[in-house]
């Protein structure tokens, strides 16, 4: 059914939450609370929020939740490492010992939380070879920003910041590296791909200079391509006086296989809401970008650091070279807890197996997908098996039938399979798509996914209209093209909608 926008619902006078009047002594002391507000600052017009009973609000949002496909069907959204969010982790995270704890409490009353943060730090150090992690960043992009800020502080401490104002990245590194470097004030040099699917060593050499502040790169990239020269890269960047940051967004295919420090990186970032099993909530968060670095960079990390001394955990604010805060408090603790629980539930063997299964699943899918009419792979000549994802193209299908990748995405949802990932901008490969099998789904689910693409390919060649007019079984139809970006029509609030369309 059509669920109305909540702004249209309710009836004047209905209430969803009530509050007791204050006790007599309080009311006597402050009989007119509004009088405590300076004259001109009192609210005159009540906000036009809906007036609804509690069950009306509850069932409205329960219904909306049901109109969200997500993993209720199947979702293997590349670059996002769709992973099982274990219910035990949720159960633990919603205990009062988590929800009802204030981050400014005295450390004596936070020993449980600090212990978990510290243990997670140790686990990440083991996985990466770094010397210290912080969890303040509310996501991967913010962790990249920490790297940019720490890079600033490092070079500033050496008097070189004015000179070193360039960050090198690659076109297949996540846009957040380029964007955070730029937001931090750096100029961004982006290396394009060589014929093997990764930038050449020569292009790196050409970019390096005394202006180089650092390198920000992922590996493998989100086409599943691994740069085998990465150790040489980090050596060259160091030689040029720059720092090397490893965006571990694509860690799932290499975890337990390599360590950032052993490849020569000074810093790295893990997404706990992704690789480590905490929910990501529609690229939404709350999330955690765990940022780790070598001892050389540790003095510049944001404060506080969770540290341990004599079996007691404490928050170390006494770090004179620190860049201070990137975000208030010390991180989304509930996300750290879930990630830590995941690490404990997996163990070293489980983590290794997850990487194995992810890579196996991707290569298994590749076999099936490339057999489908209209599906090709990026860099078809690079024959080594891809890691946990492969970048495909529907260019052929599009040329042959007029059906593009968005049509396919929409049609997939009719089979209970949520839209897959296409590619970050820019689309180096036309009509791209990127499934990531991950370790959660069974073979029969992967087979089902392949068979849906196969069926849609058949439909595209036999009845393209059916695909182009999809979805046919979802709560709503496709949006009118252009509405959401047309300044005369787009409306980010109900107020704006009423003004523009009312």
């Amino acid at each position: 059914w059509n669920e109305p926008v909540i702004m249209e619902m309710g009836h004047p006078g209905r209430r969803g939450v009530l509050f007791e009047a204050p006790e007599a002594a309080v009311a006597r002391s402050v009989p007119d609370p509004i009088a405590m507000i300076p004259e001109g600052l009192r609210r005159r017009n009540p906000p036009a929020l809906p007036e609804m009973s509690e069950p009306e609000v509850l069932y409205h949002y329960l219904r909306l939740s049901q109109q969200t496909l997500g993993m209720m069907g199947m979702s293997i959204f590349g670059t996002c490492t769709m992973k099982y969010n274990a219910q035990i982790n949720e159960a633990l995270a919603w205990r009062p010992e988590v929800t009802h704890v204030h981050p400014l409490q005295h450390e004596d009353t936070l020993q449980g939380a600090l212990e978990i943060v510290h243990e997670m730090d140790l686990a990440l150090r083991e996985l990466s070879g770094m010397d210290q992690f912080v969890f303040q960043a509310g996501g991967g992009a913010e962790a990249a920003y920490i790297n940019a800020v720490v890079t600033r502080a490092y070079h500033a401490s050496r008097g070189e910041l004015k000179q070193r104002d360039e960050i090198i990245t690659t076109i297949q590194t996540h846009p957040s590296s380029a964007a955070t470097a730029a937001a931090a004030g750096f100029k961004v040099i982006t290396l394009m791909l060589g014929e093997n699917g990764y930038p050449t060593l020569d292009s790196l050499k050409a970019a390096l200079s005394e202006r180089t502040a650092g390198l920000m790169v992922n590996n493998p990239d989100d086409m599943g391509v691994y740069n085998p020269e990465i150790k040489e890269w980090t050596r060259l960047v160091h030689e040029a006086g720059g720092l090397c940051f490893y965006d571990h967004a694509n860690f799932n295919g290499v975890m337990s296989k390599l360590r950032a420090s052993e490849l020569g990186f000074d810093a790295c970032m893990f997404m706990l809401h992704k690789t480590f099993g905490a929910p990501k909530s529609g690229v939404g968060g709350p999330a955690v970008g765990a940022y780790g670095c070598s001892a050389k960079l540790a003095p510049f990390l944001p404060t506080p650091i969770v540290a341990k001394m004599d079996e007691r955990y404490f928050l170390d604010f006494d770090r004179p070279q620190s860049v201070g805060k990137i975000r208030e408090f010390w991180g989304n603790f509930q996300v750290i807890l879930k990630a830590y629980a995941w690490v404990r539930a997996m163990g070293a063997d489980g983590i290794a197996q997850a990487a194995d299964i992810s890579v196996l699943g991707n290569n298994y899918m590749e076999k099936g997908l490339l057999a489908i009419r209209g599906v090709t792979r990026s860099h078809p000549d690079a024959t080594s098996p891809r890691l946990e994802m492969t970048r495909y193209s529907l260019e052929k299908l599009h040329e042959d039938t007029g059906v593009d990748v968005h049509d396919v995405l929409n049609r997939m949802t009719d089979f209970g399979i949520d839209a897959m990932w296409t590619s970050h901008e820019p689309w180096l490969v036309p009509e791209p798509f990127t499934p990531e099998a991950g370790e959660m789904y069974g073979k029969e689910d992967l087979d089902r996914w392949i068979s849906v693409i196969s069926r849609i390919s058949d439909e595209a060649y036999s009845d393209p209209e059916k695909v182009k007019t999809s979805p046919h079984n979802q709560s709503i139809h496709r949006l009118k093209p252009g509405d959401t970006d047309d300044p005369k029509l787009r409306a980010m609030t109900w107020r704006a909608y009423k003004k523009k369309r009312g």
């Binding site: 059509n2 969803g16 006790e23 309080v26 609370p33 405590m36 507000i37 300076p38 001109g40 600052l41 009192r42 036009a48 929020l49 809906p50 007036e51 949002y61 949720e90 633990l92 919603w94 009802h100 981050p103 400014l104 409490q105 936070l110 449980g112 939380a113 992009a141 957040s176 964007a179 691994y226 052993e262 909530s281 939404g284 968060g285 709350p286 201070g324 975000r327 989304n332 603790f333 509930q334 690490v343 063997d349 489980g350 997850a354 890579v359 098996p385 891809r386 839209a419 901008e425 959660m440 073979k443 979805p471 979802q474 709503i476 139809h477 949006l479 609030t493 109900w494 107020r495 704006a496």
Partner: protein
Amino acid sequence: MRDGSAHPYMANSVADIQSEMLRAIGADNIESLFAQIPENHRLKTPLNLPPRLSEMALRRELTRTLAKNETVERNLSFLGAGLWQHHVPAAVDEIVRRNEWLTSIFGEPSSDHGRNQAWFEFCSQIGELLQMDLVGMPVRSWGTAAGHAIRMAARITSRNEVVVVRAIDPERLSVIRNYCEPAEMENHIAIRMVGYDSATGMVDMDELKAKIDEKVAAVYFEVPSYLGVIESHGKEIAAIARAAGAETIVGVDPISLGVLTAPVDYGADIVVGTIQTLGVHLHAGGGTGGFIASRDEDRYSSEYPTLFISISETLQPGEYGFGLSLFHQSSYGMREKGKDWTGHSVYMWAIAATTYMALMGPRGFEEVGSLILQRAHHAAEMLSEIPGVDVRFRNGVFKEIVVNFDGTGSSVQAINKALRAEGIFGGKDLSVDFPELGQSALYSITEIHRLDDIQRLARALKKAIAK
């Protein structure tokens, strides 16, 4: 764990399934699939992680570890300072925990319909509280929001200085500083601090006037301020800023907006603030979240770093849906040419907040605002009756009060320690960040603090002071 057992999180952790898949690929073993990674890149020493636990063992271990936390449920807490203990209706928790959106990712507007609608409703309700038409998807914290808003103003005005009031959360100020590049860098944004009146806690208007000139991109101030004060010079500040061609950015706690007027009414151009007070628990800091809003003009909308959700018609007449808007200007669309950057945020808290606002309605916000005002002013009165205790800035505070202990001869640290022994978490110690306030602490009083709680605090303070 028994060796060789399949793992409950991994359906394919069964040997014969893996063999079948390898056969289908034509590979001998899984190791061969990692051929891209050179041998000398591989792990030098094996992973040494704590032993793997079954769910039963995990529950036991982590339940026991977490039990070492003391909660604000079993203790009486007066900590606020950027993250506040408000009543969270149980329906909010029920909604926000739904597996459906917990595990979703971006699909299509049709498959994400329910979640997108919930997000649009979040923006719409924030818009009503603020009386503003343009609200972005949430950012990671109030400080983050302020940092981005200042950068927006700098881009809008092509100016590189900003005036910030001194009565600000030091954590938030530090975040803002990290959003303003250091002096060595080309696009450095310089921060000019403006003090507050030591008697009223309000902005020092003379200093403000002196600091605003045509280099200034924006003035940033908060209502209520970090020290709890309801700043009453808003209109004047905005007028001064406007005269100098600067933007006015106001930070607000939206739970106050049932009783306080919307910042746009006193001239705000951009409004930022927290969303934590709208139905999100503390989560040891994980409840943090922020918003950015403004008038719906290109001047502003074209500079947002956030994602937007717009309502839209669908191909079916009479039906509407919701999709991303202005995506192209984000860092996803334009990499380093995008507006700052975007990425994972706290969108789940938008679900909590939209549920909360709908439950509250206009009357709920009015009642909770009134109640907080009453409780805070009453607490200020009760505490200031204690010999040696002085409550500063008592005219017009919202939910934070500055309690000064100079007259007692005790430090905040000592008093808080004594309170802790009584199961009370005293206010945040201000003595380091605000030395001019002496031994003062910031006590947060909300709707949850009943008369008997304040009485209990007063008794415990008297006892602590007597020591």
